[in-house]
Amino acid sequence: MNIARRDFIKGGMAGWVIAQSATASVLANTSTNNKSSKKIVWVMLRGAMDSLHGVIPTDDPDYMNIRGPLVESIKDKLLPMQNGYALHPAFKNCHTWYQNKEFSPVVAVASGYRRRSHFDAQDQMESGLDTTDYESGWLARAVGLLDGQGLAVAQTVPIALRGQTSSQTWYPPHFSATEDDTLDRLRSLYAGNEEFSNLLESAIMNRDMLDMDERSRAKPNFSYLAKNCGEILNKEDSAQCAMLELGGWDTHNNQATRLNRQFDILDKGLAELKQALGDTWKDTVVIVTTEFGRTVAVNGTKGTDHGTGSTMFLLGGAVKGQQVFGDWPGLAKEQLFEERDLMPTTDVRSWMASVLHQHWNMSLENIAYIFPDVQPIAQAIIKA
């Protein structure tokens, strides 16, 4: 399916404006109109997380031979899961949720992208298509069908939330709020200039909706962003879905130390999100993905290079937890992608599609519009 590009978004003013194109009205007619309290939070790990270091296939006969040197310091502290998998010891909260049936990883996944550029891979994953459409993101297409709204915890709208949907951005402010009088004067200065008027109105609406509380000057670390994301989602009439981002995964060297820290940041941030969501957690699915995996072999600098297959996490009260989803392809040389990377056995988007189908009750027809290039996974991944 061709996702129509809109003219007005050229220049990127993707604020609060709703598209008036032909496609938009068709969609409005077919929309499911079931704006619900069921939330989806997508956490994008930028830089390619090494799945083989996070979800460890303890039963794979080749694993220790290949990865032994990298996991020397943690191999006795792994957190066990079923079917011969274990979590890295830094995933303390995730493991507790696993035991509480609220966490299930999916092994050996990838998007449709098969090259090794971070930036192209991330853009394509955000777009959710086989070729990137920079003005249409999968999350925007999905929430648009609900007549809902997306929230980006970022300075500007990421690709995933661009499209025929209103999306908000939130990021911690730094100065005291500008007086209404000055904003009114800017309003009249911009009268007649559509671009600036729209931008200003979006900016004001955005601020008033999101910054009612004490304006914080805290350093925007992942935990802080995740906490605020949860609090915003918990507000009445708030967004149905949100996107969070965390970088720092490109571990070409000194991987063991760096991933200890990164996994801890991710694990604690997810706990902040859960805490802030409160009761909403039980109706929430958090999807954690990364653009691609890393080489199975260790490189010359105690790290790993850009690869292909990786892992994703599904967590939240709505998730059918305590499972390890996906098929394990093995680590012997002939089982690898290009004799180098973990072979992906399912598409990340199939699982995302399945979340939309089972959690948001989206029809297969609508799923085909959001993810035209994949089929949803049939297996039950959301609690009945």
């Binding site: 990127g12 004067r185 600036f196 900016a203």
Partner: protein, 455 residues
């Protein structure tokens, strides 16, 4: 002289106008191109008065590591503990580094060669390095002052070589740790040490050919092998601290992007870089980025084509390629096509309002506005289209920041606006400013006017 063209030259290709500057612009194109002459660049760099080099940074970091090691050892006497002082070394390094970043900004605010500094910013983002640890905190800003700023007047191949052999890049993309598996060191390690293809990949994907240019994994690996041994040494003879280590270099000939390069130590990599710099894909990639940056997010193909032609004729002579861009009428039409980047907004604000320092300082202000120097967090640098810095959230950030800095403006707002914008100052803005309830508010309205926000 066409006065409007002079203002366009000052805004679109610089950091805004002033009375003095406008007087200097008789022929806008000539004025712009003179700024990238070798003599002018030498003069500009002389005024920067650099007193911090890679060599000093590398030596200071070596001292820092030594001190750290000593501090970890159980000390025999408490006196020993007092003497090591890694903390003081670290602080001194960070202070020098931060000073350098702030100094280039304050120099750009006052410089009479604003186009030159815009080009330095452009290439600094093209060859982006980020502070991701103490080593990069020491080295990152030096890539710009040592490898990029001195090389704007020459060939792209010269800048490319200076960048890829600079300690900041070699450390940032791990090449100083990459070892040829069949080199002396590689064989000695019995397979434990080997290649790291990080730098090689980004050279092809980001610095030269561009993604999708037709190279494949084998090309990346071959380039990675060719540049094994490109490393860093504080005691190296070369000023930048580059050191070629033959014992780490993968022996043999290499096949990169369809061409065979015979064995030849450091020269092998140099030859490959030169060919990459002169490849038409590189010409297209970099020219398009230049047009996108300076003129319009939807770079008109016709200008790009003209630049590529000149690039191929001149083997990538940077001033000639830029001249081709400036020759196009499209460089002078469709004015106000693009929002200023956060850095342009900050520097043009300080220039227009005669602000010599800021609180929060330049670097912190840029962090607030969204593009902290050397913090893009990705070798791709900051994205260069306005959707990445002109969304609703960023707009409110600009309004709040503009209101904040307006407090520090001492001069008469209308004078500032007229000097900065001349005939480009819209009547509506002038009217709004004259009715403002305070001087601060008038300055805020001026800084947030469409004709100051865009260029």
């Amino acid at each position: 002289m066409n006065l409007d063209q002079a203002f366009i030259a000052a805004h679109r290709f610089g950091f805004g106008a002033s009375k003095k500057l406008i007087k200097q612009i008789e022929e806008p194109k000539v004025w712009l191109l003179n700024q990238v002459s070798p003599e002018n660049i030498t003069a500009e760099l002389g005024m920067l008065d650099l007193d911090w080099t890679s060599q000093q940074a590398i030596q200071a970091m070596a001292l820092y590591r030594k001190q750290k090691k000593l501090e970890k050892k159980p000390s025999e006497s408490s006196e020993n503990m007092m003497m090591t002082g890694s903390d003081a070394t670290k602080k001194a390094v960070n202070k020098q580094s931060m000073k350098l970043v702030n100094r280039t900004i304050s120099h750009a605010i006052n410089s009479e060669s604003p186009f030159y500094w815009r080009l330095v910013d452009f290439f600094s983002n093209h060859f982006s390095v980020s502070v991701n640890g103490q080593n990069m905190r020491a080295l990152a800003p030096l890539l710009e002052t040592e490898a990029i700023a001195p090389n704007i007047s020459g060939y792209f191949s010269e800048m490319l070589l200076a960048v890829e052999s600079h300690p900041a890049m070699l450390v940032y993309l791990n090449n100083e740790q990459s070892i040829g598996p069949n080199s002396k060191a590689g064989l000695r390690s019995k397979g434990k040490k080997g290649l790291n293809e990080n730098l090689a990949r980004e050279i092809m994907e980001l610095h030269t050919l561009g993604v999708g240019a037709g190279y494949d994994q084998a090309d990346v690996t071959e380039l990675a092998r060719a540049i094994t041994g490109w490393g860093v040494d504080g005691a190296a003879k070369l000023n930048s601290g580059f050191q070629f280590r033959a014992g780490l270099h993968e022996p043999g000939s290499r096949n990169v992007f369809g061409k065979v390069y015979r064995k030849g130590g450091v020269d092998q990599g140099i030859k490959i870089l030169k060919d990459l710099a002169e490849n038409p894909k590189t010409a297209e990639h970099v020219s398009r980025k230049l047009v996108t940056h300076f003129i319009n997010d939807n770079a008109p193909q016709v200008i790009v084509d003209e630049m590529v032609t000149v690039w191929m004729q001149t083997k990538g002579n940077i001033p000639k390629v830029i001249s081709a861009m400036l020759e196009s009428p499209l460089s002078w039409s469709d004015y106000l096509a693009k929002f200023k980047t956060p850095r342009e907004f900050l520097i043009s604000t300080c220039r227009a309002c005669d602000l010599k320092r800021l609180k929060p300082d330049f670097v912190k202000s840029l962090a607030i506005l969204g593009q902290q120097p050397f913090s893009a967090g990705s070798p791709a640098g900051y994205k260069d289209t306005q959707e990445y810095w002109a969304g609703p959230r960023a707009m409110m950030g600009r309004i709040e920041w503009a209101e904040h800095v307006s407090k520090f403006v001492k001069k008469v707002p209308m004078d500032l606006a007229q000097q900065a914008l001349g005939s480009l100052l819209d009547e509506r803005t002038a009217k709004a400013m004259s009715r403002a309830e305070s001087k601060q508010q008038a300055v805020t309205l001026f800084l947030m006017s469409p004709e100051f926000q865009k260029r």
